[in-house]
Amino acid sequence: MVVTRCVETTLAIPDNEAATARATLTRLGIPLEALERADLYKIEVECKRESELLAALRGIETIFNPNKHRLAVRKTDRPDQGELWVEETAALESDGGTISVAGRALPGVRRLQRLVSWKLTAPGGDPASAATVARAASALLCNAAFQRAVFVR
């Protein structure tokens, strides 16, 4: 039995990448109240090993530094309103049957996909509309030639 879990790491300190992306989107005519970025790991893990998963991920210093990151399991494996997930082709991680991140094997993990999540907040504080998310994706956040934009339409 396998379950799918979506684990995200976000910066607890100011995110320069998100700030640069927001400034560029503003210059491109897509002003936002806020833009947040997260690294997402969409993971298929054996039920009986699920409890080990978070501990294993927390032990990988290159993706989780407790001094500057937050790590959490998301409630669903789909984006929320105003959120853009960017999937990259050939981004599945596999190493002869053992799946690893930054050289560390993840016990019980059958499949792992890395994504980037962008959370767009419109001026006024509401989640950005689907139209705004689509514009931001095509203008900057997603190169449709080799990436796929996933969002609530």
Binding site: T89, A90, L140, N143, A145, F146
Partner: protein
């Protein structure tokens, strides 16, 4: 930046995070071109005066969002786009090549706006790789003004040094790249034999370099400027030159592309 912008001057565009401008300027000067490192805060009117542009390697804007994505929208790219449209030679090397694909200037299909292809994470490792390579010219030299002075099927040594160098695009895009003579360079061995085994990054079509439809904008992933003097070389020539400073400092190898680029710049000027 120099005070005078002459007719055969090359603007080597420097974004925050660019790191290969020095050797690129040096390679230009070695083939008789005047070249300046042009920083991102330069006045656009000054940038527009250059006869040609090179977007050198590095990590423009720290590769934030994607390699080349932020730089593609930088203010200075206005001048580069205008220059490309006017027929000025534009060469992008490594990160510069990524920028050119993110702008859509390369492959620059007719009627297309925005990126039509991209340089994605290396496959299968997904990791940064630095290795010596050879690239082979696969188009008739005259198809691209920047390669026009090279011999047919010329093989050029270079260093591949990137984490995102895998040409990626839809099947229709890749077919159009191949059919439209956009595939300027492929990875090969020193004798010019192309095979999957010599491709360092899983690049589609074995692509190392693409040219636009008009033939004046070339995006090349490996660095010829890092193998442009004997002391850079990865073959017996370097050992043969040991103890002979003049031979060791002689431009050769990757300098061939800059010699051809220089011809294009002079012709445009």
């Amino acid at each position: 930046m120099s005070a005078r912008v002459g007719s055969a001057n090359v603007g080597v565009i420097v974004f925050p995070g660019t790191n290969s401008e020095e050797e690129t300027v040096r390679a230009c000067r070695a083939v008789g071109l005047e070249a300046d490192a042009v920083h991102w805060n330069a006045p656009l009117d000054v940038v527009r005066e250059y006869s040609a542009y090179i977007l050198p390697g590095g990590f423009a804007y720290e590769d934030r969002v994607r390699a080349g994505a932020i730089a593609a929208h930088d203010r200075l790219m206005t001048a580069v786009r205008e220059g490309a449209a006017a027929g000025k030679p534009v060469l992008g090397i490594c990160n510069g090549a990524q920028v050119l694909l993110e702008t859509g200037l390369v492959p620059g299909f007719a009627g297309a706006s925005g990126p039509q292809a991209g340089f994605a994470r290396n496959a299968p490792s997904g990791k940064f790789r630095s290795t010596h390579v050879y690239v082979k010219l696969t188009i008739p030299p005259e198809r691209c003004t920047i390669t026009a002075a090279l011999k047919p099927n010329a093989v050029i040594p270079a260093w591949a040094s990137h984490g995102e160098g895998r040409l990626a695009g839809g099947a229709a895009t890749l077919a159009r790249i191949a059919a439209g003579d956009h595939l300027a360079f492929v990875y090969s061995d020193a004798r010019g034999n192309a095979s999957e085994a010599v491709v360092p990054n899983g690049s589609a079509l074995g692509a190392a370099g693409l040219v636009n439809a008009a033939g004046n904008v070339l995006a090349l992933m490996p660095h010829p400027e890092r193998d442009a003097w004997t002391f850079n070389h990865h073959d017996a020539s370097r050992e043969a030159a040991r103890g002979d400073a003049a031979a060791m400092l002689k431009p050769s190898g990757g300098i061939a592309l800059f010699e051809s680029f220089a011809q294009a710049v002079r012709q445009w000027s």
